[in-house]
């Protein structure tokens, strides 16, 4: 069984005038109703202009190959902070926090190269043992025969422990990382305490103060193999301004946290909704896990969109993009494009060519931690299958109000006693 098609919703979406379709509405992701909107855009207007939205006018790019084209054409489609960065929401200058994801070459290249060694193959092999140990401990401590929140006990715990390790952040305080990550990405209209950019900034200044203290310790010590030490000693990063430092820290926290967290939750949810796929996994975990992991990442598409700003006129999917236009690549949509991926709405754990998906982006900004993310998911599922043949999802997931992070806030589960 795969995601049920809601006929009422499909009809409702079909009745909206094409130029009024607005896929930036965060409620579409909170209510998990985005599917028919993107299906219509891919069919009728693959590169679509939305003239009026809460986030201003923007182009939507919804098909796999057009997204790929934008992602690899960084000379035309800029990520630069001062032009608007990588999210659909524009930020006032005082709230802009540049980091290498919001830089174009050549600065992007220099900064990225400083931190990429931490996820190089040799270091990943070294991290694998730590991940397995921690995953085992987290799973061994889970209750049996009672309902608990998978997100809190497993998804957040594993990714946050990993992140604390990568930063060599004080382990007991690790949930601060989760909190700052959530604050950094929360939509100010989501109904949380962070209801303005000002309040977001107040909390992130605490994050900056904490990390500055750690930075000062690292810069005065011998270089070590953690992200902060690498930044403190890196030739292109040791003179970061406070704003750039905060931007980079947030990038690494969000990148290493939200995405993997939501894939851990989304994977279990997808398996529970597709019992035949869950059975395949149970029957032969060693064969299935290597293809299931990229399939989970595709199916969840943890980053819903990335934004670019055109710095030259360009043709895209038959449309004329003008210099200055805001261009949104909807990864979540491209990952459901049936011209690129066969039967894309189905969750198939042994899919052929499962790595062909857009969840990590492509081109020079492709996710630097993609292999670490896969490693964490792989080890997690190996350790789960050693212990629990079945984990039951016993209620509906609570999803995040956001058009950027495809988040699952709570997922009630039960492991049979």
């Amino acid at each position: 069984m795969n995601a049920p098609v809601n006929q009422d919703l499909a009809q409702e979406v079909a009745a909206i005038p094409l130029d009024k379709i607005d896929v930036s509405d965060p409620r579409l992701y909170e209510t998990d109703t985005w599917g028919p909107y993107f299906a219509r855009l891919r069919r009728e207007a693959p590169v679509h202009f939305c003239a009026e939205s809460y986030f201003g006018p923007f182009w939507s790019v919804t098909k796999y190959k057009d997204i790929m084209q934008v992602d690899v054409s960084h000379q035309i489609y800029s990520s630069e902070t001062s032009l608007g960065g990588i999210t659909i929401r524009d930020r006032e200058e005082k709230y802009q926090r540049p980091s290498f994801i919001t830089m174009d070459p050549p600065r992007h290249d220099e900064h990225r190269k400083t931190v990429s060694p931490i996820v190089a193959p040799g270091n990943l092999a070294h991290l694998a043992g730590t991940i397995r140990e921690r995953a085992a401990k987290i799973l061994d401590e889970l209750p049996r025969g009672e309902t608990f929140d998978w997100v809190d006990r497993v998804s957040i715990e594993l990714t946050t422990q990993m992140l604390a390790t990568l930063f060599d952040f004080p382990f007991a305080d690790r949930r601060k990382l989760t909190y700052w990550s959530d604050v950094a990405t929360v939509d100010v209209n989501a109904g949380t305490a962070i209801d303005s950019e000002e309040k977001r900034d107040e909390v992130l200044q605490e994050c900056l103060a904490c990390f500055t203290e750690l930075w000062n310790q690292r810069v005065n010590a011998e270089p070590r193999n953690d992200l902060l030490s690498m930044l403190a000693h890196g030739e292109s990063t040791r003179n970061l301004t406070p704003k750039e430092f905060l931007g980079t820290v947030i990038l690494l926290i969000v990148g290493g946290n939200d995405t993997t967290r939501n894939s851990i939750s989304g994977g279990l949810l997808a398996l529970s909704r597709n019992p035949a796929e869950y059975r395949k996994l149970r029957d032969d975990p060693a064969r299935i896990i290597p293809t299931m992991v990229p399939e989970i990442i595709r199916y969840q598409s943890p980053i819903i969109h990335m934004r670019r700003t055109a710095i030259a006129d360009a043709e895209l999917g038959g449309q004329h993009i003008r210099k200055g236009d805001k261009v949104i690549m909807w990864y979540k949509s491209g990952n459901r494009d049936d011209e690129a991926i066969e039967n894309p709405d189905a969750f198939i754990v042994d899919r052929a060519r499962p790595r062909q998906h857009l969840s990590f982006g492509f081109g020079i900004h492709r996710c630097v931690g993609n292999r670490l993310a896969e490693l964490q998911l792989t080890i997690m599922w190996e350790e789960i299958m050693k212990r629990f043949p079945t984990i039951e999802v016993v209620g509906e997931p609570v999803r995040l109000y956001s058009n950027f992070i495809s988040g699952i806030k709570h997922l009630p589960v039960r492991i049979p006693a």
Partner: protein, 106 residues
């Protein structure tokens, strides 16, 4: 048909026929040779088909484009003889090409 020898990081050799006009990446993927993932399918956009060309063959594979330089600069453990195999098109002249794969490109 021209032959290419792909050598895995662990030393395992695979000798396969690769048709003229096909990319060296495609030759590996179509023959299920491990170590060349090619996540982007040949768009020069992911650097997961990174290989080291044996020195005597390097010049014959042509020059890297600026996009390839960019992507390679983020690949792990690059060397002077690094190329992205999706950017090398098979020719009769490349018959006998030998290349090696980097560590950990699963």
């Amino acid at each position: 048909m021209p032959k290419v020898t792909y050598i895995e990081y662990n030393g395992t050799e695979h000798v396969v026929d690769v048709p003229v006009g096909t990319s060296v990446m495609r030759g590996a993927v179509d023959n299920n040779i491990p170590g060349i993932d090619a996540d982007c399918g040949g768009e020069c956009a992911c650097a997961t088909c990174h290989v080291y060309i044996e020195p005597e063959w390097f010049a014959k594979t042509g020059a890297r484009s600026s996009q390839e330089e960019s992507m390679l600069s983020f690949a792990a453990v690059t060397q002077d003889n690094s190329r992205l195999s999706c950017q090398i098109e098979m020719t009769a002249e490349l018959d006998g090409l030998v290349l090696r794969m980097p560590e950990g490109q699963h």
